[in-house]
């Protein structure tokens, strides 16, 4: 076992685990760590998932990280944006999205900070978050776990949380996990965010202190470490230039 495993690599393995039960569907992953995780899943336990190049193509062999199909890989399907919406509506897709805010029921915001009429900070807009969360499993990736991101209540619900989904009768709604640089979070039977595991080397109190709503991490197990084979694939095959270290703030050795 390597003794220099980084938080980024632990997060990649956690992202990969998202796809264990996926079967044959389109894996959409926003961000570097989720993109590496989806590739790792495809190369290990979940060969049936379909990767996207982030542009217009479905890939049976992934294009280089962050690059469209024209940079390499093997195209197996055409999925321009309009077809993505058709695929979303079928439910044969999963998405790991980012977030600017997440609340205790998993409501997510990427639209704006402040008031709707005159925001303090305009962000990208709701994009596909309402449709994604209404139609298929959505997981979140948070590179910097902080109390500014995990808030009591989000300024605009872009991705639908468990309380809202229940009220709206969304039967295809499924929030999976939230993977952060400190922990893996899930949801309890009431739809509230709970801690599933804390990454090795992270003080559980740090998770609580950096969350803007009550979150008990004291009895959580440690997040699993990547296997030697996973580490080899991450370091030598998928991300040899270690782009992952740019996304996770402090690549601390923890093994």
């Amino acid at each position: 076992m390597s003794n220099d495993i980084t938080i980024a690599e632990i997060c990649v393995a956690a992202c990969s685990d998202i796809y264990r039960e996926s079967g044959e569907l389109l894996a959409h992953a926003v961000g570097i760590v989720p993109s590496i995780g989806a590739r790792l899943a495809k190369l290990t336990h979940s060969p049936d998932i379909i990767l996207s190049d982030g542009e217009a193509f479905m890939m049976s062999e992934a294009s280089p990280l962050g690059k469209p199909a024209s940079a390499g890989g093997v195209i197996e399907g055409w999925a321009p944006f309009r077809r993505i919406f058709d695929i979303v509506a079928t439910g044969r897709r999963q998405s790991i999205m980012g977030a600017s805010q997440i609340d205790q029921y998993g409501n997510q915001n990427i639209s704006l900070i402040g008031d709707w009429d005159k925001p303090k900070r305009q962000l990208i807009g709701v994009r596909g978050a309402p449709g994604n969360t209404a139609n298929h499993r959505v997981d979140y990736w948070v590179a910097r776990h902080s109390a500014r991101l995990f808030v009591e209540s989000v300024d605009m619900v872009s991705g639908v949380g468990n309380d809202r989904a229940k009220a709206a009768g969304l039967k295809h709604h499924h929030l999976g996990v939230i993977i952060t640089n400190l922990a893996v979070l899930g949801y309890d039977e009431n739809g509230r965010v709970k801690v599933l595991s804390v990454h090795p080397g992270v003080d559980p109190q740090e998770v609580t202190d950096n969350t803007g709503f009550p979150l008990d991490a004291s009895n959580a197990p440690e997040t699993r470490l990547p296997t030697d084979e996973e580490l080899r694939l991450i370091r030598e095959v998928i991300d040899p230039r270690a782009v992952r270290n740019r996304e996770v703030p402090v690549p601390q050795p923890v093994g």
Partner: protein, 281 residues
Amino acid sequence: MAGKLMDAADLGGLFEDGMTIGIGGWGSRRKPMSLVAALVRSGAKDLRIVSFGGPDVGTLCATGQVREVVHGFVTLDSIAVDPHFAASRQAGSITTTELDESMLVSGLRAAGRRLPFEVTRSGLGSDVLTVNPQIRTITSPYADGQTLVAMPAVPLDLALIHLNRADTLGNGQCLGPDPYVDDLFARAAARTILSAETVLSTRELTANAHPSTLLLNRTMVDHVIEAPGGAHFTACLPDYPRNEELQREYAAAAADPAPWERYRATYLDDESIWRKEAVNA
């Protein structure tokens, strides 16, 4: 069959104050920037812009011509948020109808089909419905009894679209990897202006390209403009990629009036410089 080719200098007469104008492309990809520059030069104001927004929306915010933006996002792709759009929102100087991306697709499709709305699941439970109380839900009349979103049609007075090739009759060809939803914009609009990198004879369009690349037929297009480099600085694959350097200059110009005036004078008052860059690309 009358030819629809017109000169860019005559575009101004097609724009009127208060129009609802749909703009094709997606983010900072294959935007009809030459047509947007003509819209800027026309001085038309109080506009309602419908767009999968990029620098088209940002430009018209910077010139103060926009009253309302109907969008699912406004992004420059390699720069997450268009700073001109953000500045207008943060100043409270424009109103917005913010939609899930697929809801905007539904609204355009409904308009093109002359239907009042399209049913969709997208938007339920989110604040899109809270901030847009004009969007109503509908209950399925069948046994499932589901409550769904009745996304209202988004009809347009005018659609602006840029494609790789066209003929003078208004047949438009997309040679890039993604047609986006440009055909839905054209169908939703009372009139459509199509600019193209190159205008060819009808026969030449399919001499070396599959007929499935013909995205717009001539019933969907009213005016054709030949505009080489007409999507600059956005990407127009396979003819040219995004000009990231020029996009950075555009974004940086949001900081102060002086750099914006310089940008405007260089690239909007006379966009022939883009055409030179397209030729050199």
